[in-house]
Subunit: 136 residues, 2 copies
């Protein structure tokens, strides 16, 4: 995709980690300045880390107020290794693009189609990584 | 232990999760207010969540400045479930107690004795959970 060439591409190993059925532990900052962390499904467009979540969740609201996030991700088959990331939520995407992306994420992680939750709207948190490291 | 009866005991399921060879993803706050998260080994005394780390590491320095932490922990054998925690680092313990505890942690997670790193001092981050939840 053209968009991918505009920024810095992710390393192949990090991209593969994000493309696998792995969980990312994403930390954001609450309104009172305390940290918040939850594991979520994850995806990538080759340049950004993409999280698909429900509109109104704590991390979505937190990222609107302070876009800085940190994350740790381990391959499910080898939790003894991990990659750390610091970055910023540069865009929150809603509408058809986010609903279609949610459907793809359900397929990726469960192998099944998504049963939409009534009145729930999906949002993509588009994260630009500023620093990625693999300490081991 | 007597100390355990002074505060609120952890639930049995959370205690078992902490006693297992599981990783906890611990989030702290950096000096600039941004979040930091790393997976670490974990332990409990029945009342607190105990992390054993090297003195001078980012999370240790962060917790001195702002004791508020958040964490997510999944059982290694079932990463699809997780428990979330918010709490405070109420004490940082160094000296023989921390070195001995490091040795026990090495045994727990690797089955082997620890090879001490020259000039590295260990510290126990003693965390009092304020809120523990299992969203699933």
């Amino acid at each position: 995709m053209v968009a991918q060439t505009r920024g810095r591409r992710l390393s192949e190993s990090f991209r593969k980690l994000l493309e696998g059925k792995n969980y990312i532990f994403l930390a954001t900052i609450n309104a009172d300045g305390s940290p918040q962390v939850t594991p979520t499904w994850v995806d990538t467009d080759g340049e950004h880390v993409l999280i698909n979540t429900a509109l109104g969740r704590v991390k979505t609201e937190n990222a609107k107020r302070d876009p800085r996030v940190a994350a740790a991700i381990s391959p499910l088959k080898n939790p003894y290794t991990y990659t750390l990331m610091r970055g910023r939520v540069v865009e929150q995407i809603t509408g058809k693009k986010a609903e279609d992306h949610a459907e793809r994420m359900w397929k990726k992680y469960t192998g099944r189609s998504r049963k939409p939750v009534p009145n729930q709207k999906r949002v993509i948190l588009k994260i630009k990584p500023d620093r990625v490291s693999t300490p081991q």
